[in-house]
Subunit: 140 residues, 2 copies
DNA sequence: AATAATACGCAACTCAATTGCGTTTGTCAA
DNA sequence: TTGACAAACGCAATTGAGTTGCGTATTATT
């Protein structure tokens, strides 16, 4: 289930602690439902009067990533971003001007394409990255 | 035209010098036709008995990029790679095991998809990134 | 309250990439 | 051929994202 307390409880059942950092990070990622980088998340914690070391942020992200609670998204600017997992599979429209992010759902087209490629090239596709860059309606 | 001397001449006509570094880098990128990172290119120059500082490699790549002679490709590992520009538009199959790269041509499917999205979302798409990750036929 | 595992802070470090600045080299024109 | 000047280069220092080691603190359990 996609809510902070449920996720925290699942982690707790596995022997991990319920910490304020964990709770706030999961909450923010659940709320914004968009890819955020380590810096943005550290800033968010600061705003919540919970200033933590960047190492803590990186470690927490690594922790959540390894447990499949978040996924890594790459915009091609050499900066890792993280998004809550479990959202419907989608891709992003990234505005080159305002850096805004919109989701886009590419129905079965991609799945069909992947299968075609896998067969043709004899390559087992495990994942793909697909992001679109341009100008959003406001920046046009 | 896609050959080293033509490109060098075009640059020369614009007032830039014909240097050995420039010539070798363009030649290698033209020959291999696959994305290479700065380290790989510096190593290549070394092999050609032309040991240069990494700054020179980075500056040359920046230079070629700004003039549209090469394009930047991102595999999501926070490392910039460069490929000669002017190749037919294609994407990459990246093997998670041997790091090998295969090209894949995704006919008009993507173009159609882009137009559909652009219209629906009122978003001007300038470019996209699409790479596939998995296991190649040898590593399967 | 004691214990143990998890979580955290801090400093140092890695790795890709960039910057400042002084020097060298390619090019062109006298 | 030789100046002269911009382009190109080397080197050291720096930036920025991310990681590591290690000692300390916190959470949960008994």
């Amino acid at each position: 289930m996609l809510n902070t307390q449920t996720i925290l409880q699942q982690l707790s059942d596995q022997g991990f602690k319920k910490t304020k950092v964990r709770e706030l990070l999961i909450g923010e990622l659940l709320k914004l439902k968009k890819p955020l980088d380590a810096q943005a998340l550290q800033d968010f914690l600061s705003d919540q009067k919970l200033a933590v070391n960047k190492t803590t942020v990186y470690r927490e992200l690594q922790f959540l990533l390894e447990r499949g609670i978040i996924v890594e998204i790459n915009f091609g600017d050499n900066k890792r971003r993280y998004e809550i997992a479990g959202l419907a599979h989608h891709h992003h429209l990234i505005c080159n001007n305002c850096q805004g992010v919109e989701d886009v759902f590419v129905d079965q087209d991609l799945v069909k394409l992947e299968k075609k490629i896998a067969k043709e090239k004899n390559f087992a596709i495990h994942s793909h990255s697909l992001e679109f860059f341009g100008l959003c309606r406001h920046c046009l």
